[in-house]
C-alpha cells in the first residue's frame, strides 16, 4: 500500500469516526429524552392511581381535591414533551408510539375520574376533548390554539387523542361521540365542534373562565399599583377585594392600606397609619 492510499484510508477513518460520533450522540440524547418522558409518565401514573384509590377507599368523592390542578398540569407537560419527541424523532419511532398510547390511556383515566368527581361533588369541570388525525393541516393549527389556551387558563383540562394511533381505547372513546371522521373535532360539554375553532370561539364556551381570568388580571393590576407605591416585593402583599371600587391589602403583616378605584378607573392608595402602628404595638 503506498502513501497515497494510506492517506485516503486514514481520512476515511476520521470521516467515519465523526459520523459515528454525531449519530451516536444524537441517538444517546434521544434515548435520554425518552427516558425522562418515561419517568414523568410513571410519576403521573402514580398520582392518578393514588387519586383513584383514595376515591375508592372513601366510597365518596374527595371533593376538596377537585381544585387540585397539579395532575392536570403534569399531564399537560407530559403531552407537550411527547409532542416534541414526536416531531423530533419521527412519528414512526416505536418507543414514541408506545409512550403516546400510554399517554392516551392516562388521559382517558384522568377524564373519567374527573367526570365522576364532578358528578359526585356537583361541580362543573372545564374540559375539552380534542380528536385529531394525521395529514390534517387544520389540526396543527388547532394544536397551536389549544396550547395557547392551556397557557392562558391552566385550570382548563384539555385531553387530546390521535385517532390514527391504532389504539382500541381511543377507538372506543371516539365511538361514544358520533362525529364521523372529520378532524379536528372538539368535544366541549357533550357538544361537538368540527373544523378549526379559534381562541375567541372557544373562550366564549367557558364564560366562568373568562370571568375568573378578568378578576385575576384586575388583581394583578392592583398589585402592580401597590408595588409601585410602597416599594415592597410582590410576595409580601396580600390583597382582598371588598367591592369593584375597593381593595384592602396587608403588607408583610406590618401595615394595611386601601386602594380605591373610581368610575373612570383612576386608583388612589391610602396607608392605614393607625393600624400599622397597632401592628407594631402588637409585635412589641
Amino acid at each position: 500500500m503506498n502513501a497515497d492510499q494510506k492517506k485516503y484510508i486514514f481520512v476515511l477513518m476520521i470521516t467515519i469516526g465523526i459520523f459515528i460520533i454525531v449519530f451516536g450522540l444524537v441517538n444517546f440524547l434521544n434515548n435520554q429524552r425518552l427516558e425522562s418522558l418515561d419517568d414523568l409518565q410513571r410519576k403521573v401514573t402514580i398520582d392518578l392511581i393514588a387519586n383513584e384509590t383514595q376515591f375508592d377507599l372513601l366510597k365518596t368523592a374527595p371533593c376538596g381535591s377537585i381544585g387540585d390542578t397539579i395532575l392536570s398540569r403534569e399531564l399537560g407537560e407530559l403531552g407537550q414533551r411527547l409532542d416534541f419527541a414526536e416531531t423530533n424523532q419521527g412519528t414512526n419511532n416505536s418507543s414514541v408510539i408506545q409512550l403516546k398510547k400510554y399517554y392516551s390511556l392516562l388521559q382517558v383515566k384522568d377524564y373519567l375520574l374527573m367526570e365522576e368527581l364532578a358528578n359526585k361533588c356537583n361541580v362543573e369541570i372545564d374540559s375539552i376533548l380534542y380528536f385529531y388525525g394525521d395529514n390534517c393541516p387544520e389540526c396543527t393549527k388547532q394544536g397551536y390554539v389549544l396550547t395557547e389556551l392551556k397557557d392562558r387558563y391552566p385550570e382548563l383540562r384539555i385531553y387530546s387523542f390521535d385517532t390514527d394511533l391504532d389504539f382500541s381505547v381511543i377507538e372506543t372513546f371516539t365511538s361514544l361521540y358520533d362525529f364521523g371522521q372529520i378532524y379536528p373535532t372538539l368535544i366541549i360539554g357533550n357538544e361537538s365542534y368540527q373544523g378549526l375553532q379559534k381562541i375567541p370561539e372557544i373562550e366564549e364556551l367557558f364564560p366562568e373562565l373568562l370571568e375568573r381570568k378578568k378578576d385575576l388580571d384586575e388583581l394583578n393590576e392592583i398589585t402592580d399599583f401597590i408595588i409601585n407605591n410602597v416599594n415592597e416585593s410582590k410576595e409580601d402583599i396580600s390583597i382582598t377585594k371588598v367591592s369593584d371600587e375597593k381593595y384592602t391589602f396587608i403588607v408583610n403583616d406590618e401595615y394595611t392600606g386601601v386602594v380605591l378605584v373610581d368610575v373612570e378607573g383612576v386608583k388612589t392608595l391610602e396607608i392605614d397609619k393607625e393600624k400599622s402602628e397597632s401592628f407594631v404595638d402588637l409585635q412589641e
Partner: protein, 409 residues
C-alpha cells in the same frame, strides 16, 4: 431523501478532512531545498498586463509592477490594450518612454486568451507572468517566486490572492472567501493538485508555452485550462504563499454572479474536456479526489440548496401561521429546559461545518500574516454562501449541461 443528504454530507466532510490532512502534510523535502538556496537567481521575466476598458485601474497595476523589488534589467512589463473603447490607451501613453514597459495595441477578439497569445509571440524571457489590470502586486512577490523557480521541476508558481480594499458588503464577503481559499490552495500545492493558475500574477516558465502550445479559448477560463494541461503533462505548479497579489472583487451582485457563473461554467467544461484525467491513478490525488469531488461539490450544492432552504423556510411558515392564530407572546423562560433543545444530526453537522470554515479561515489568514483573524466579513461570507452562491452554481450547472456560452465580461 435523507440517506442521499447524509451521503453528500459524508463526501463533503471527507473532502474537507482530506484537505486538512494534506495541508499539514509537511513538504519537508521542498522546504529544505528552498532553505539551502543561498543566493537567489533572478530569472528574466515579462509580465503581461492585458486590459480592456480599464482606464481607472490600469495605472495602479502598472505602478505596482514598477515598484517590484526585482532587478530592473530583468523585468519587462508588456501592456496589451485589447481594443479598449474608453481612454485606456491615452492613459497608457504616460508610460511610453519607460524602457521597462512595452505598450501594444490590438483589435478585440472577444476573449482574453487571444490577447495573451498575441503577447506571447513577442516574448523571449525565461519567465512569463500575467497580471490582470484590476489587480496589483506586493513589491516582494516576484522575488519570493524565485525560491520556487530554483527547483527545475517547478514550471509555474501562483500567488496568494487577496481581495484588496474591500468596500461593499459583498467585497468583504469575498475577502473572507479568498482567505479561506488560501488554505485550500496550500493543501492542493502540497499534493501537486493545483488545477488553476489564476489571472492575477501566475508566472510560468516560457517553455511551458513552447512545449504545450499557447493559451486556448477554453470556455473563457484559459487560466484553468492551462493548469489542467500542465497537470496532464505532470508539470509542477507551486504556490508561493508569501507572494501577495491584491485583486478587486465585483462590487455588486450582478457582476459577481456573472463572474462566478463564468468560473464555475469554465471549471465544469474544462474538466469535461480533460475527463480522461478523472479517476486515473497516474494523476494521483488530483485525478482520484480533487477533480471528481470538485465537480461533485458543484452539483451537490445545486441539490442541497433547495433542500436547506426548505428546512429554513418550513419552520418559518409554521411560526408565522402560529403567530397569526394565537398572537405573539413574550414568555421566553429565563432558564433553558434542555429537553426542548433540538439537537439533530443536521444541526451537529452544521456546527462542524462552521467550525471547519473558521479554522480554515484562520489558517488562510495566518499564511499571509493577516493579524485580524475573526472579523465581521465571516458573517457576510456565510450569508453569501447560503443565499447567493447557489444561484451561480445552479446557473452555471444549467449552462454547462446545455453547453450555453457565458460571456467573459
Amino acid at each position: 431523501m435523507e440517506i442521499f443528504l447524509y451521503i453528500s454530507l459524508f463526501i463533503t466532510l471527507y473532502f474537507q478532512i482530506f484537505l486538512l490532512v494534506s495541508f499539514f502534510e509537511k513538504n519537508k523535502k521542498n522546504e529544505k531545498e528552498r532553505a539551502a538556496i543561498g543566493t537567489i537567481e533572478y530569472l528574466t521575466t515579462t509580465i503581461i498586463v492585458p486590459c480592456f476598458n480599464e482606464e481607472s485601474t490600469v495605472e495602479k497595476t502598472i505602478d505596482s509592477l514598477l515598484l517590484l523589488d526585482y532587478p530592473k534589467d530583468k523585468i519587462t512589463i508588456m501592456v496589451i490594450d485589447d481594443g479598449s473603447t474608453d481612454t485606456t490607451w491615452q492613459v497608457l501613453q504616460k508610460y511610453k518612454d519607460n524602457p521597462q514597459i512595452s505598450l501594444k495595441q490590438k483589435t478585440n477578439e472577444g476573449s482574453k486568451f487571444a490577447a495573451l497569445n498575441f503577447a506571447l509571440t513577442h516574448i523571449e524571457t525565461e519567465l512569463v507572468g500575467v497580471l490582470d489590470a484590476d489587480s496589483w502586486v506586493d513589491s516582494k512577490s516576484l522575488k519570493y517566486y524565485m525560491e520556487f523557480f530554483a527547483d527545475d521541476q517547478v514550471m509555474a508558481t501562483i500567488p496568494s490572492m487577496v481581495i484588496g480594499r474591500p468596500q461593499s458588503t459583498l467585497q468583504k464577503a469575498q475577502k473572507a472567501e479568498y482567505d479561506i481559499g488560501l488554505f485550500a490552495r496550500k493543501a492542493f500545492a502540497n499534493i501537486n493538485s493545483i488545477y488553476i493558475t489564476p489571472g492575477p500574477f501566475s508566472v510560468f516558465r516560457k517553455e511551458v508555452f513552447d512545449t504545450l502550445g499557447p493559451y486556448k479559448e477554453a470556455h473563457h477560463t484559459e487560466d484553468a485550462e492551462i493548469a489542467l494541461r500542465m497537470q496532464r503533462h505532470h508539470y509542477k505548479i507551486a504556490y508561493s504563499e508569501k507572494s501577495i497579489v491584491y485583486t478587486i472583487g465585483p462590487r455588486s451582485l450582478r457582476p459577481l454572479i456573472k463572474q462566478r457563473v463564468r468560473w464555475v461554467y469554465g471549471f465544469i467544461r474544462n474538466i469535461y474536456d480533460y475527463r480522461d484525467m478523472l479517476f486515473k491513478k497516474k494523476y494521483r490525488s488530483l485525478g482520484l479526489i480533487v477533480l471528481p469531488l470538485g465537480i461533485f461539490r458543484v452539483f451537490i450544492t445545486v441539490v442541497l440548496f433547495p433542500l436547506s432552504l426548505w428546512l429554513i423556510v418550513l419552520p418559518l411558515i409554521n411560526w408565522v401561521e402560529k403567530i397569526s392564530l394565537v398572537g405573539y407572546s413574550f414568555n421566553i423562560g429565563t432558564s433553558i429546559d434542555w429537553y426542548f433543545v433540538n439537537i439533530t444530526q443536521i444541526n451537529l453537522f452544521a456546527i462542524i461545518g462552521l467550525f471547519l470554515s473558521l479554522m480554515t479561515l484562520w489558517i488562510g489568514r495566518e499564511l499571509i500574516n493577516d493579524k485580524r483573524k475573526f472579523t465581521i466579513d465571516i458573517v457576510y461570507m456565510l450569508f453569501m454562501y447560503t443565499f447567493i452562491a447557489p444561484l451561480w452554481l445552479i446557473k452555471s450547472s444549467y449552462n454547462a449541461l446545455l453547453s450555453k456560452k457565458s460571456s467573459w465580461r
